[in-house]
């Protein structure tokens, strides 16, 4: 029996889904490393620099956030603060209602996933269309994204063709080109009909109030050409100090996310359309979402807010690849979600997702690829430690107590004794022990034969040899 939720989910995972994820992540890993290796001889230096640029902005958010607000207001943008996800929903649904529109176009935004925004807009009778192709498929299937960059990495082209056929978007055809053309045709009328368009923000510069939005499909651009009102929803951590930080951050973001050198469209929006421009929003709003971020910013795991949502950590994570993003039960899967997921839940909700930190081998791969140098393995260990300290039940499920080990490790005499007699483990019927944890452990693992105890003897003999 698997007692950890991620384990349990992974063991029930369809093999087709696992293969789709394996293939999808392998492709991106390959592209990413190829481009980065070709372009940079000192990638680690750049990652550290980018990490410092992000950390500087976060450590001074009490200055930069109001500065960004001022710039945005000067540019004619209406700025809203949302202490919680519920408040953000209230603000956005209020704006959409007041506009009188029945159709809203939406481009990809992880913050909007935190709000479950499209569904909540549907609840008030507004058609909120996801315009990113992957997100659109997710919406048709009433599913959730399983990856922050490639939302349908868990689906095959047959799955997509099935959904299109089921929803009246043409007969079954699993040619990705046909699928894309059909989405193009369907979506453009919506772009023109929508009164409001909602985007996320990759970065917001405190210096100029510029909101950077990066896409390959051009869906955010179309939203910003068709609608009358633009609402950008951004976590407060998206603020950066200066415009000159953008080239560095964008360069690392795009290379890490897809292996491209730049996305097809990098859009810098700093306000409503200019007077001479006939298309595009006359009104722009920025909603700054807190939802526990302000608490994280001064805490033990604050580096996690540097995240620029490139997805590299999940692509490279062996646990993610085996279990899929849905195993993480939240908006952010993989190593970043392991830390961010429980933290974004706040003091009271931390325990609900604290078990995620156990679903890691601490192999360190995520920390090595992160473009903003987030020490992910350390942070995962810190979340583990906190869940242990706070006695969070879900975080400790299926975990053997380490008390015995800790006792032995702290007493050299005991340690020597244990090393000498460790061999006994080879003869004990460990699998049959009537202990929950050991049963859970042995159902999916094999304990290698004990071969320890020789190192000290070897070292001693070596020292003696040298002394002689």
């Amino acid at each position: 029996m698997n007692r950890q939720a991620v384990d349990a989910f992974a063991s029930g995972l369809d093999s087709e889904v696992r293969q789709a994820i394996e293939a999808g992540t392998a492709r991106v890993i390959e592209n990413r490393s190829h481009t980065l290796a070709e372009d940079y001889s000192d990638l680690d230096g750049l990652r550290q620099l980018a990490g410092q640029v992000r950390q500087h902005a976060l450590d001074h958010l009490d200055r930069y956030l109001p500065q960004a607000e001022r710039r945005l207001r000067d540019n004619g943008v209406q700025v809203h603060y949302a202490p919680s996800a519920d408040r953000a929903l209230e603000i956005i649904t209020g704006l959409v209602r007041a506009s009188g529109t029945r159709v809203v176009t939406k481009s990809k935004s992880m913050a909007s996933e935190e709000l479950d925004l499209a569904r909540r807009l549907a609840d008030i009778g507004v058609e909120a269309l996801e315009t990113d192709l992957g997100e659109f498929v997710i919406q048709l299937d009433d599913d959730h994204p399983s990856h922050i960059v490639a939302p349908i990495i868990h689906k095959t082209r047959r799955n997509v063709a099935d959904s299109f056929a089921k929803h009246g978007l043409g007969d079954f055809d699993d040619d990705p080109e046909v699928i894309t053309r059909r989405a193009r045709r369907f979506m453009r009328d919506k772009f023109l009909a929508a009164g409001v368009t909602i985007t996320g923000a990759n970065f917001i510069s405190a210096e100029s109030g510029r909101v950077a939005i990066v896409t390959n499909e051009g869906n955010a651009r179309f939203g910003l050409a068709g609608a009358d009102i633009h609402i950008a929803l951004a976590g407060i951590e998206k603020v950066i100090a200066r415009d000159r930080d953008l080239p560095l951050l964008l360069s690392l973001l795009v290379r890490s996310a897809t292996g491209q050198r730049i996305s097809s469209y990098v859009e810098l929006v700093s306000g409503p359309r200019s007077a001479s421009q006939p298309s595009g929003p006359r009104e722009m709003h920025v909603v700054f979402l807190d939802s526990n971020r302000s608490r994280i910013v001064g805490g033990q795991t604050r580096e996690i807010l540097r995240c620029i949502r490139c997805g590299a950590c999940m692509n490279t994570c062996p646990v993610y690849r085996q279990s899929s993003g849905h195993a993480y039960r939240g908006v952010y899967p993989g190593p970043v979600g392991t830390v961010l997921g429980p933290l974004l839940k706040g003091e009271d909700g931390f325990g609900e997702l604290a078990d995620l930190a156990r679903a890691s081998t601490l192999c360190g791969a995520c920390g090595d690829v992160c473009p903003v140098n987030i020490p992910l393995p350390d942070l995962i260990a810190r979340v583990r430690a906190r869940s242990h300290r706070e006695g969070t039940v879900s975080g400790d499920a299926g975990i053997p107590s380490m008390g015995g080990y800790s006792l032995i490790a702290r007493h050299p005499g005991l340690w020597r004794l244990a090393m000498r007699f460790g061999r006994v483990l080879n003869w004990l019927p460990l699998r049959q022990l009537p202990l929950g944890v050991s049963r859970a452990w042995f159902t999916s693992r094999t304990l290698p034969r004990w071969r320890g105890g020789y190192f000290r003897r070897w070292l001693r003999s070596r020292k003696e040899g040298q002394d002689a």
């Binding site: 789709a20 999808g24 750049l46 410092q52 640029v53 950390q55 500087h56 001074h60 009490d62 109001p66 540019n75 949302a82 202490p83 408040r87 315009t131 498929v137 939302p151 349908i152 689906k155 082209r157 997509v160 990705p176 699928i179 894309t180 053309r181 193009r184 045709r185 453009r188 772009f191 023109l192 390959n216 499909e217 051009g218 869906n219 651009r221 179309f222 910003l224 050409a225 407060i236 000159r244 953008l246 080239p247 560095l248 050198r261 730049i262 097809s264 469209y265 990098v266 859009e267 810098l268 929006v269 359309r273 200019s274 421009q277 006939p278 595009g280 807190d290 302000s294 910013v297 001064g298």
Partner: protein, 214 residues
């Protein structure tokens, strides 16, 4: 009414006050992430980078006219300032709409607008609100033709970003619209143009047009 702003900012200060030290702003060159291999200047290099980024480049209006007739592109939107300058090079059967008609969005085979500049490092075109006669014209038709004065080039992404004026909408366009959402297979022309074209040629627009420093 609770003051949302005060709540968030108070929480932030309270949280940040707990930090014993705050990370300083590092010293670095804005183009620190420009790979050495992508540095360089000049129109020829830019044309090469555009092509590498899957943007079709023409260096004469005649070549553009030929391209449109090869593609049977008969109806399109065109920036009213550019139309008289390009008209002589387009076939007699090519119809130009000088106002973007929403009702014809699916009929337009192409859209012609001005670009404000280019970025050599990435092979990107820079579109801005002040130079784009209609955002839809630069986006909705299958073919987008950006007319760019070859004098308006930036060497690096950093030059472009730090050297822009205060236009409310700046877009760096690199190649055509694309997706790899379905099984990672690259398909072009999702919502934006399936073909991105650049006419790299000084059309000698009247004063005040096409100048990035305006």
């Amino acid at each position: 009414m609770p003051d949302d702003r005060a709540i968030v900012l108070d929480r932030l200060s309270a949280s940040l006050d707990k930090l014993s030290e705050r990370t300083p702003y590092p010293e670095f060159a804005a183009d620190a992430a420009t790979p050495d291999a992508l540095r360089g200047r000049g129109r020829a290099l830019f044309a090469k980078r555009l092509a590498k980024a899957k943007t079709v480049v023409f260096e004469t209006p005649q070549a553009l006219g030929d391209y449109l007739s090869e593609h049977d592109a008969a109806i399109g939107y065109c920036d009213p300032d550019l139309a008289p300058l390009l008209r002589p090079w387009l076939g007699p059967n090519v119809e130009l709409d000088l106002e973007f008609d929403h009702g014809r969005v699916n009929e337009y085979a192409f859209g012609i607008t001005r670009a404000t500049g280019g970025i050599i490092e990435t092979g990107s075109l820079i579109l801005t609100d002040s130079d784009t006669s209609n955002r839809l014209g630069a986006l909705a038709p299958w073919i987008h033709i950006a007319c760019l004065d070859p004098a308006a080039l930036h060497e690096t992404l950093a030059d472009a970003i730090t050297g822009m004026g205060d236009d409310p909408n700046i877009v760096f366009v690199t190649g055509h619209s694309q997706t790899a959402d379905v099984e990672g297979i690259l398909v072009h022309g999702v919502h934006g143009p399936g073909e991105q074209v650049c006419l790299l040629y000084d059309l000698a627009l009247p004063e005040g047009h096409g100048d990035p420093d305006q």
